[in-house]
Amino acid sequence: MKNRLKVLRAERGWSQADLAERLAVSRQSVNAIETGRYDPSLPLAFAIADIFGLTIEEVFLRG
């Protein structure tokens, strides 16, 4: 699934490790989600959206 994680991280000056720490997951997990290799579960997707103060639809893109 396409997403805007890389852009959203860049806007806040966060590394993948920073985001991973906030989500309490591994950096590899953030990398896998960001590169579209892994689609997060709904609870994790909500957690990601909450951290950026956005809705899931504003972070993850259809198609």
Binding site: S15, A17, V25, S26, Q28, N31, A32, E34, T35, L44
Partner: protein, 145 residues
Amino acid sequence: MSRTADPARKRYTKRLAVLMTLYLVFLFLAVRTYNVDGGGVDGALAWAIAILPALPVIGVFWAILAMIVETTDEYQRLKLVKQTLIAAGFALSVMTVLGFLANFGLIAPVDGFWSLILFFFGVGIGSCVTAFAERRADRAAGDAV
């Protein structure tokens, strides 16, 4: 496997250490009993002693399952499941080929517990496969840090 210090991974390492220690103790007891007192052991007791070393090994399968269940990072959990399936697939595939080779008389019959050794070898293969895939993705991502 993950480079993060997941508590589930730490628990697995501790459980593995305990189970392997038990395995060595049970194996020593079983071999010693059969070699030294073999004449005096038979019936149900002989079966129980022979099976004893297998129990901690079965415990290792439980420890792997527990680690998968207890891993909170869902992506890492998926990686563990993949590694375990690769290991099981590898062990079963090799044992199937060896079984047919033995059936047609091309090799000597293979002891069943080789599947166990192949499984743990397969865990290593699974770890390498997932680590390689991850490293390649890291390079593709560019700004992994």
